[in-house]
Amino acid sequence: MKIKILGSGCANCVTLAENTKKALAESGTEAEIEKVTDFAEIAKYGVMSTPGLVIDEKVVSYGKVLKPQDIVKIIEKNK
């Protein structure tokens, strides 16, 4: 599973990244996390509010700092 966190580095994106790490640990899933900060790249996903969460090239959420429990649910759905 390849996870990308879309965001320019403001506090929200950092929090989302941390929550995602927690969620991965909780759900026992192995995944690579990549932080995408380049706007041109972020724009390609059609995301208009950061932070954004992308799993295996599919945008699963944006504009929200998801809590770990919510991320776990999303990870399960996308396994």
Binding site: G7, S8, C10, A11, N12, C13, F39, A40, I42, A43, K44, Y45, G46, V47, M48, S49, T50, E57, K58, V59, V60, S61, Y62, G63, K64, V65, K67
Partner: protein, 336 residues
């Protein structure tokens, strides 16, 4: 006193809180409200509590409303309008669309690559940080409804005019090419409609997030406000920002523009300045300067638009604020 005045005084101005804190300062701390320490202590405690209560409550309510207006929806709505109605709608939607300055770039790219004209996008970008539902209520709390409504109208006019002017200057060529060439890869995520519970959760989390983000600014703002209120002599303030000084608006704008703080932090400062006799227009110019233009979002906009367009945007907004400041100083009698 009619019911509106009563609600206004108790819910917005929180007279009950002011009286409570007054009791605290006089009877528990044994200080007089008339002298500096007592007066500024009262100002500090009362304002901090008032702003935090209003802040949390307002963000909750407003985020709930904003959950109905995600940027995608705004983009779709705006795509259907041309010309001036588009600018007006963009300015209005900028008021209710949730928007943190770190989203300004993805939003700009999203709007522009969807084909929205530059003028519409800029009307949105100007009104968004300048006018938002929470600041309107806070302005009504600190000053009065006439001023709050006037601020909104004026902010919207600035957004519409600013966007229109930028559009007329045909600066599309100053946008970085990659913005126009942006075609989303694969399926674009369409968020599902939120349930009422999801909206409540979202609103609650927004309230927490934002309070967490701005509490320092609020404390600093109230601290400065308390200083102005009780410690800085009126003569100094009058010399720099006095109503009769022709340069007061310029000073207020120039000081406000490079600063970046949340509007909630500027309100206590505005409150204290107004109490010291600074003109309404000067105070509003300061607030607008701080909120409309922020260094972080300018730095980020630099990545998607070339310097000339950025400078034009900056110049138009600053000029607009200055004009608005002078205007309000001239017609203050109508408002206060």
């Amino acid at each position: 006193m009619n019911i509106f005045d009563f609600l206004n005084n108790q819910l917005l101005k929180m007279e009950w809180l002011s009286n409570l804190v007054k009791f605290l300062v006089e009877n528990v701390f044994g200080l007089s409200m008339a002298d500096r320490l007592g007066g500024s202590l009262h100002f500090f405690i009362y304002d901090v509590i008032k702003i935090f209560i209003l802040l949390s409550f307002l963000i909750f309510v407003i985020s709930y409303v904003q959950s109905y207006f995600p940027p995608e929806r705004t983009k779709k709505i705006l795509g259907r309008f041309n010309g001036l109605p588009g600018n007006v709608l963009a300015a209005l939607l900028g008021t209710v669309t949730p928007f943190c300055s770190c989203s300004s770039i993805p939003l700009f790219i999203g709007f522009t690559s969807a084909g929205l004209p530059l003028s519409v996008t800029f009307s949105f970008l100007i009104s968004s940080p300048l006018v938002d539902l929470a600041s309107i209520i806070l302005l009504a709390s600190v000053f009065n409804w006439k001023i709050a409504i006037a601020y909104v109208v004026v902010g919207l006019v600035l957004a519409v005019l600013g966007g229109t002017i930028i559009g007329k200057m045909e600066m599309e060529k100053y946008v970085e090419p990659f913005v126009y060439g942006n075609k989303p890869v694969g399926d674009v995520y369409e968020p599902e409609e939120m349930t009422k519970k999801e909206r409540r959760d979202y609103a609650l989390s927004q309230a927490f997030e934002i309070v967490k983000r701005v509490w320092r600014y609020v404390l600093i703002g109230v601290g400065i406000g308390a200083l102005i209120h009780n410690w800085i002599p009126e003569s100094i303030i009058a010399a720099v920002l006095g109503q009769d000084k022709w340069y007061s608006v310029l000073v207020a704008t120039l000081v406000g523009v490079p600063m970046y703080a949340d509007i909630f932090g500027t309100l206590p400062i505005a409150e204290a300045l107004a109490a010291k006799g600074v003109g309404l227009g000067t105070v509003l110019a300061f607030m607008m300067g701080v909120t409309a233009l922020s260094l972080p979002s300018l730095i980020m906009l630099e990545k998607v638009v070339k310097t000339k367009l950025l400078a034009t945007f900056f110049g138009i907004v600053t000029l607009g604020i200055i004009i608005i400041g002078y205007f309000f100083n001239a017609v203050t009698g109508f408002f206060l």
